[in-house]
Amino acid sequence: MSTGPQFDSVDMMLNMGPQHPATHGVFRMVLTVDGERVVDVTPHIGYLHRGTERLAEVESYGQVITLFDRVDYISNLNNELAFVRAGEKIMEVDAPERAQYIRVILAELNRVASHLLFIGTYAIDLGAMTPVMYCFRERERIENLFEHVTGARMMHNYMRIGGVKSDVPDDFVPWVHRLIGDVRKGVEETDKLLSTNEVFLGRTRGVGIIDGPMAVSCGLSGPSLRGSGIAYDVRKDDPYEIYPYLNYKVPVGENGDCWDRYYLRVLECYESLSMIEQCLNQLPDGPIMAAGRRIARPPAGEVFSHSENPRGDLGVYLISDGSDKPYRVKIRPPSFCNLIGLRPMTIGSYIADAVAILGSLDIVLGEVDR
């Protein structure tokens, strides 16, 4: 404390967003700062609210799949998978094994693509320009494969309740084998360049710490929760599709800081690539669509099903009244819950770290606002 004359100090309000390059979309937070320290943070969301859940109530089950493509527009296939699994549960059909393998291969590839986007943009947030070039190069390879298989780069509309739209092309298996080799090299390159960089470590190590109990109470999931040392992964804890047949590890962090959350995603890329290789070696022949009625009218009832999205636990609560349209569709958006953890993480940190903390949560505003 200075020994000179005493002045009263007031906290200053600092607005960040909705138009801000580091908020990854239209997200606004109001920081209350005392000097350089953040005293309080108030997130404001809803700029991208499109009423997806309400809209799903007037669409038939097949049409809702296209809405799920647009919920989390970075990992479209994982979102489709979440909905078609809920639909299969309520219609009491099972997808054939080949379709399940194809869906898992594509979902894991999309996980890698999503994590690559995260790594690249997170590096930009922290002032490193090069990794994003490497990451987008690799992501582009994956998008090219998606275009080859589904016909679209992002809004695929490929999965169906009971299977997939069409079988994969003949050159799918060699293409994916080649792709995995390329992408793995690219991830290693980026990993070597960024993960142990002195400046990067300085910006992320010990920043934005959240402890396990608090993270669970906030409803965090995915790498954001596992960074705090809680090994919760839906693929392991509530296995679905063909995940029980695959051999993989779920990396778990220790400190709950930004670097842990970042590095878990890098490790998940390696795990996902090895899972895809296993899937390709096991890929069986057979039908890709469950036999049965084409236009389905499920029995009245309700189901809750969830799956592991790149951002965490993506749940779908589906209520049917027996008609051809869902009565209520409720999405459990992992980004939405992860964002609840922003406040406990940010309070007490520096203003500049607020950007690093928000980036480490890897939010997609389309999913937060729905």
């Binding site: 969301i45 309400r54 549960k89 109470s217 409803g219 919760y232 009832g301 309700e302 749940g315």
Partner: protein, 189 residues
């Protein structure tokens, strides 16, 4: 369109007497799914019944997730028992409101990271002025879910200090999640 779905599209008046005048549904008869718990679900259901005791009005479940319906005034107590009792439900995985036209139903999906078990609590609220005590003091995640349900369904949560609009903008009129809220469907012109 050959078939009109009475539940979709057009705005409906609230209240049981209005729903009695609903047009008759055409098409095949409605089949109701049989709810059945598997072995793991039965175990969780036993735990849930032990935890809630007389608080549970009725209970059933599907696959590995049992549910129990409690009175709206007892929901907070039931949720607290689930969190602190043997079930150890430390995560509020999902919370949603459902508009059944004659009532609003709140559904709480609870998850335990230590026991890896899921359970669902349900509570029925009147369609007019729905109100239920907040669970924000039990789980941080409750705060945003409650603000969302307040925005979209008009449910009041005494105990949650911040009820400012979350998904909607300041001054938005109405509750777009309700079935009575007009949703412009496609029409021929």
């Amino acid at each position: 369109m050959t078939e009109q779905d009475p539940l979709a599209g057009q705005p409906e008046a609230k209240g049981p007497e209005a729903s009695a005048e609903k047009p008759v549904r055409h098409g095949p008869p409605i089949v109701v799914a049989e709810e059945q718990l598997n072995e793991r679900g039965e175990q969780t259901a036993e735990q849930l019944a032990r935890t809630l005791g007389a608080l549970a009005l009725d209970a059933a479940g599907r696959d590995d997730t049992p549910w129990a319906r409690v009175d709206a005034s007892q929901l907070h107590r039931a949720a607290e028992k689930c969190r602190d009792g043997e079930m150890g439900m430390d995560m509020l995985n999902l919370m949603l409101a459902v508009d059944w036209v004659d009532r609003i139903q709140m559904i709480y999906v609870l998850y335990s990271t230590t026991n890896n078990r899921k359970a669902i609590l349900k509570a029925d609220l009147p369609a007019e002025a729905p109100k239920i005590s907040s669970v924000t003091d039990l789980w941080e995640a409750g705060s945003w879910y409650e603000r969302e349900a307040h925005d979209l369904f008009g449910v009041e949560f005494p105990g949650n200090s911040d009820m400012s609009p979350l998904l909607l903008y300041e001054g938005f009129e109405g509750h777009p999640g309700l079935k009575s809220y007009p949703l412009n469907d496609y029409e021929e012109w």
